[in-house]
Subunit: 377 residues, 2 copies
């Protein structure tokens, strides 16, 4: 069995996520040697019994996936490869593989998630489009869920911009859902990326959407909620973002607009109140720094975290360490992790910020170089 087929086998394994897979890949070196290993070796390696049973039954339905992947625009981005986005890899339950229709390199770009109600007010829709357009022009990739309402408006705002847009789907990428956004999905595939962790042919089950939401939050430096009712799925995305240590942003609105109440709840719980794009950029940089600081200087009881986020100045140290570690030859995240002692997700997050500031440039293959006056360009 070749490596691609082995990855598809693993991507189809029920309930398997990167947290379980990572130590097994280290042990077996590749997906194919894991999938092809004999049962005794699997037992010896303490592979979970459910996964052993799955691998032994052998009747994998991969032809639909393989056929779909046989198209120039279709890709599978596998865990542990340079193309796999480092911020997403931080999640304990990161997906094994990501199906991509469009440009897979977009996954490693610095992203902001914009999410919200399926039934927004006209003003909410305009805010989503406006923020996505402005942030996109400033180089942020806008990630959302392709739902009607705020999601669609966010994708539309970001599509024509430099940052472009990623739509994370709750079904297989051969399935057009929701139908109302079929034309938008085609445009996103053309100029951005449609992605999913669900194998080709998977229907858009209700249970898929919370899982889809964790990917939206996990890919992004932060999540902006534009309009959301209480009990909205967007609040779950925001909670997942906060749980992963990412920033949560919320736009306030009239107290008489039920679609503002979810945003107000988030603000009460500590989300950054956002009036304009500058508010978002102001928070993103300290966020990346605060992540790095966890490692560089462990906090007691986390009591300095807020202070860290308020003042950007003391963060420069970690960025300087990273830029020094980067030097003037292209280097990947793994090498930078080795050189700095920062965690991979932190390095990726800081690189994203430095890229936004044009202080580093990214090359194909997950490599980064310093740019600007002091750089090699």
């Amino acid at each position: 069995m070749d490596e691609l087929t082995a990855w598809l086998v693993l991507a189809h394994a029920p309930g398997l996520h990167a947290g379980t897979l990572a130590p097994l890949l280290t042990r077996f070196d590749s997906a194919s040697s894991l999938v092809n290993a004999d049962p005794a070796a699997l037992h010896e390696a303490a592979v979970p019994p459910a996964l052993i049973r799955y691998l032994r039954q052998g009747a994998f339905q991969l032809s639909t996936d393989l056929h779909w992947l046989d198209h120039q625009q279709h890709h599978l981005v596998c865990w542990g490869t340079p193309a796999y986005p480092m911020l997403l890899a931080e999640l304990r339950d990161a997906p094994i593989a990501i199906y991509v229709r469009g440009d897979p390199e977009l996954l490693c770009m610095p992203q902001l998630a914009i999410v919200g109600s399926r039934n927004p007010t006209p003003a909410g829709r305009e805010n989503a489009r406006g923020f996505a357009s402005h942030l996109g022009r400033n180089g942020l990739t806008i990630t959302s869920g392709l739902a009607i309402g705020i999601d669609a408006a966010s994708h539309e705002g970001a599509l024509p911009t430099a940052g472009r847009t990623i739509a994370v789907c709750g079904a297989g990428l051969d399935i057009s859902y929701p139908k109302a956004n079929a034309a938008l999905a085609d445009e996103i595939a053309e100029h951005g990326a449609l992605i999913s962790e669900f194998p080709i042919g998977t229907p858009p089950l209700r249970a898929h959407f919370p899982r889809r939401n964790r990917i939206i939050a996990g890919l992004s430096l932060g999540t902006l909620v534009v309009e959301a009712a209480l009990q909205s799925g967007s609040l779950i995305t925001a909670r997942l973002a906060a749980d992963s240590g990412r920033e949560v942003f919320a736009i306030p609105g009239s107290i008489h607009n039920p679609m503002s109440h979810g945003c107000h709840q988030l603000i009460r719980q500590g989300a950054a109140l956002v009036e304009n794009a500058a508010d978002i950029f102001a928070q993103l940089r300290p966020l990346a720094g605060a992540l790095a600081r966890d490692v560089a200087r462990p906090l007691s009881d986390g009591e300095a975290t807020d202070a860290t986020r308020i003042s950007a100045a003391p963060l420069d140290n970690e960025y300087k360490i990273l830029l020094d570690a980067l030097g003037f030859e292209p280097a990947g995240v793994d090498l930078l992790v080795e050189r700095t002692g920062f965690r991979a997700g932190e390095v990726a997050s800081m690189l994203s910020i430095l890229e936004l500031e044009n202080r580093v440039a990214s090359y194909p293959g997950g490599l980064y170089v310093r740019s600007g006056p002091e750089g090699t360009k």
Copy 2:
């Protein structure tokens, strides 16, 4: 010189406030013995030289005040008397005396300040009127500054309610300012109270309004900002409230409404985001408890304050101590301070809350009794 005249002399003394006056009153027993004391006694008592000079020059212009006070509806509420509001007395620079046109007993009622822009949106005006009306029907007295815009709408909303309304003026009470609110001022005098620290005849100078604002904030358990631009005077009132340990409330709004930006700034700085009146009542009770807790169990570095405010349950102790101390005979704040060891302002604040909950009733002369099923009624 009689006591009333002596108080007027002190009320006219430039820059004199209760923080300076309090130890002198303790030393001299009454305002008249202070004002009538000979220079040697004043020097011996370490009376500030400026005050000695003022008292010695002797040409006090009090006839306008005395003439104004010769009216059934006009009153002077002097520092250190039972009629002087305890929450206001907490301010280091509390006024020596308060001129009142209307009902002076209103000053000791539990109050919420509602303030905001002179140029609100129609929705802001409706919110002010709606909150004032609802809170007033639930027994809170609404205090504001008689300005056009949010102030006027707040007074109007509260006027017909049980809680009624207090207007704090930046000029002498014989001067109608602003003219546009002259009819409203008359109505407030009839059903509530117009008050000022400025002697009769004082014009509405620009410098008076920050001083007026500290009284609005100082009288109130909390301050609600409805709509305010950045740089608005309402933000000063809110800061004064926060500095006195009172709660600050702000109503969010559209990010495209400049009159919401001041409220958003307050929320970012820690003001409670308010969607409805219940949000305000939810915060007021823990506030009063947290004040008491400062005394009952000193906090280290204030780190438990937030936790205290989130959960109301552990606060019941202080309220129980106070209710036990109150017993079933009428008692004043001083006696309760003696019995509980709480500070006067804390006792006053907690009594206000208990009064809102109908667990105590206030009697003339600053006395309180327990009421309700367990009480004497």
